[in-house]
């Protein structure tokens, strides 16, 4: 029997955006996190940080208005919002490591039940791999949200007892937002906070290798 519908990547980003408080300094990584800026809740302002030395990034630059000296960490031409600033890569990572970012969102291959994150290298992949800023961000963000699909394309769980992929950081994840669930990493384990619309907590558990702690009736994610 085919699975029920899951959230799209855009909907995962939309749900993760609800985790951002007004006025927060926020770094968004590659993949699904990069979509979050399209779904900011109305009425809040957040200051997007880029590890190449920008605080206060605005939307992507319009065609014809790009400046090749003003790009985000994914090389995309961007704009600035009022109050933005530039600094060096060293100071940008002083911010990531030093606990100055309120929230960071990264993509993920695996998250363990202790909040370990693996997101930079697939076992058996060819080539050198690349770390980029992910380890600094994982180690230093005050709140780390991992945004990813709940399962691989083959259906294997990505929320696991122990990561088998190369680690990015140990016990660094605070919240995981997937196409099936919102899960908080707590000292007692992984707490299922919300499920995707139409899914039960038992069904989400069946797609998860790590044990989920379920307290009462778990509400469905709200996506307006």
């Amino acid at each position: 029997m085919p699975d029920k519908p899951r959230l799209t990547r855009e909907q995962i980003a939309q749900r993760a955006a609800q985790e951002l408080p007004d006025g927060a300094y926020v770094n968004l990584g590659w993949g699904i996190p990069n979509l979050i800026s399209n779904y900011l809740p109305k009425g809040i302002t957040v200051y997007f940080h880029s590890e190449n030395g920008i605080l206060g990034m605005g939307p992507r630059a319009k065609p014809g208005e790009e400046d090749s000296d003003l790009v985000d960490a994914m090389k995309v031409p961007v704009t600035l919002i009022p109050g933005a600033s530039f600094f060096s890569q060293a100071d940008a990572h002083l911010m990531t490591r030093g606990g100055h970012l309120d929230v960071a969102a990264l993509g993920g291959f695996q998250v363990s039940e202790k909040g370990d994150l693996a997101n930079w290298k697939i076992p058996g992949s060819k080539g050198s791999g690349g770390i980029g800023g992910a380890m600094d961000i994982a180690a230093g963000a005050r709140k780390l949200i991992v945004c990813m699909e709940h399962n691989t394309k083959d259906g294997a769980p990505k929320i696991v007892k122990e990561c088998t992929y190369a680690l990015t950081g140990v016990a660094c994840t605070d919240t995981v937002v997937t196409d099936l669930a919102v899960i908080d990493v707590r000292p007692e384990g992984l707490v299922l906070r919300e499920v995707a619309p139409g899914w039960s907590s038992e069904e989400v558990q069946a797609h998860t290798e790590a044990k989920l702690i379920v307290r009462g009736n778990v509400p469905a994610m709200r996506l307006e």
Partner: protein
């Protein structure tokens, strides 16, 4: 006044020897010393250790140095999705690579520039990058010892230089350039414009002239990619 301005790109890199350790500024297509890289590549220099965030964008940026087999070792954080020349050499074992978390790469350069002999960090603990590094617990946290990265030369890109070598940068083209200028024996900068001493307001100087040894004016090349 010490004469730091040189008249050509080729003259700016004329004494960089084979086997040199060289830092290269730039990130995301911005702030790369592309003209100096082209001049260095033209010289046919070989066996260098390159220290840079990425390993080139096809033929662009550092790509040409890998394409021509001029690099024997690279220290970087993220080779990049279009670093095909690096990956081909890496697969054949013709170039070795040390991957460093990006902020730790910066901080190891800063330690070199600041006269520090190392520092402890939680970044990379329990991951591949901690292999072989001294680990201890400070303030209740597991951490690893990271050592400075020093180099012989930095090739960097700035927007304006005055004749003394005080530098400004455009927008996000600053990135790795200031910290690399601090971590080396000789900093060679290519700039869009050289201006008279006194014309950059002192409070706008980002890299003070003490870190800059050779200046060349060059029209920037940009590689889409």
């Amino acid at each position: 006044m010490k004469q730091k301005i040189v008249s050509s790109l080729d003259a700016a890199v004329v004494d960089i020897p084979d086997g040199a350790r060289i830092m290269f500024g730039g990130f995301g297509g911005a702030g790369f010393p592309n003209n100096l890289i082209q001049a260095l590549s033209r010289r046919g220099i070989k066996d260098i250790t390159a220290i840079s965030n990425n390993c080139g964008t096809r033929d662009g940026e550092l790509g040409i140095m890998f394409k021509n087999g001029q690099v024997k070792h690279v220290i970087c954080s993220f080779p990049g999705p279009h670093a095909n020349h690096f990956q081909e050499r890496y697969a054949k074992g013709e170039v070795t690579c040390e991957l460093v978390p990006q902020g730790i790469l910066c901080e190891r350069m800063r330690a070199a520039g600041a006269g520090l002999l190392g520092f402890y960090t939680t970044v990379g603990v329990g991951t591949e990058v901690s292999a072989g590094k001294q680990e201890c617990i400070l303030d209740g946290k597991r951490c690893i010892l990271e050592l400075p990265i020093h180099a012989d030369f930095a090739l960097i890109k700035a927007h304006q230089a005055d004749e003394l070598g005080n530098l400004t940068y455009r927008l996000a083209a600053r990135n790795f350039n200031p910290v690399m200028a601090q971590a080396v024996t000789m900093t060679i900068v290519e700039v869009d414009e050289i201006v008279p001493v006194g014309s950059i307001p002192p409070e706008n100087v980002v890299t003070p002239a003490i870190f800059v040894h050779r200046i060349v004016q060059a029209k920037g090349l940009h590689y889409a990619g």
